[in-house]
Subunit: 183 residues, 2 copies
């Protein structure tokens, strides 16, 4: 028997990324889990308009997505507890830049993506930023045969219910493969 | 030292959902991991235009998101191996309907969301469907104190690299809490 629990947006878990942007010339970082893939080259970020970071994204038309490992959970969570309006978060991490020049990336994160803002969709209380992935950077240690290995990245996953941070579990099957026996 | 691996969209893992829609009056299901949250009430689906399901979503302006547990991985993957144009996937699951009438949901999935199509964004090879969550249905067994418990749902997570299906790992920290000690 199904129970109707109301219109709960339950599309979780989603990976936590630290969104990086230059705000007034200084790197700022906001942890965001309201993210998604739109097509093979595009990502979306749903960011409440109260976020300090939004102005920097709109000004520079660039941003970064930084994937913290579970080891960085305290720093990641802290970035969501304080606003860049009051706290200089650039001191928390060592920044590096790619070809876009204005998308600060976090050296301590094992994987980062440099993005160009290609569209902003206006929602009542949120800016939906659509980014084109321009370059992806990884630590050598998280690659296996040249491919990103998420077991090595150890991403932080988020669920709104219970405000949970979760680890990634085991890889247990292969897509476009495990279903073949039902053909 | 960071290694640039090209513009790889690496925003994974993302949860696999079976997108349900009526196509020519028959329930059809497509496994999609290019999903995201836009704001508290809205989700996005990035679906290649070749998908048979897209026509049904456009016609009825409704769809469902069904969250299969790891036990349903073979059926879920199979839905991605065959097209509804050739195979009647309505036989795979028992469908139920909510107030929207035209968004078939899968009884075997421990959680489902019924969505109203509120916007379609045209990308070169993809339709980006934006849905408003109208109702969420759960098996009683996956609730803990009335809230969705993802440890009980046991969702299937997907990474493009290695075409991996992954389990959710352990909950290890609380958001808006674990970072307080850095304040």
């Amino acid at each position: 028997m199904k129970k109707a629990i109301g219109p709960k947006n339950s599309l979780y878990p989603l990976p936590v990324v630290l969104v990086g942007a230059l705000v007034n010339g200084t790197p700022n970082y906001a942890p965001i889990a309201h993210v998604g893939i739109l097509d093979f080259g595009s990502v979306s970020l749903g960011m409440g308009k109260i976020h300090f970071t939004n102005a920097g994204i709109k000004e520079n038309k660039t941003f970064s997505l930084n994937f913290p490992s579970v080891d960085l959970v305290k720093q990641t969570d802290y970035c969501g507890l304080v606003s860049g309006m009051h706290v200089d978060k650039s001191r928390l991490f060592e920044a590096f830049f790619g070809s876009l020049d204005t998308a600060p990336m976090i050296r301590e994160c094992p994987m980062t993506m440099e993005c160009r803002l290609v569209r902003t969709i206006d929602f009542p209380k949120h800016d939906i930023f659509v980014g084109e992935v321009v370059q992806t950077y990884c630590d050598e240690e998280v690659l296996t045969d040249g491919e990103v290995d998420y077991a090595k990245i150890r991403p932080i996953l988020f669920t709104m219910s219970g405000h949970g941070y979760w680890k990634l579990g085991e890889r247990f099957a292969t897509a476009w493969e495990v279903g073949k026996e039902l053909k």
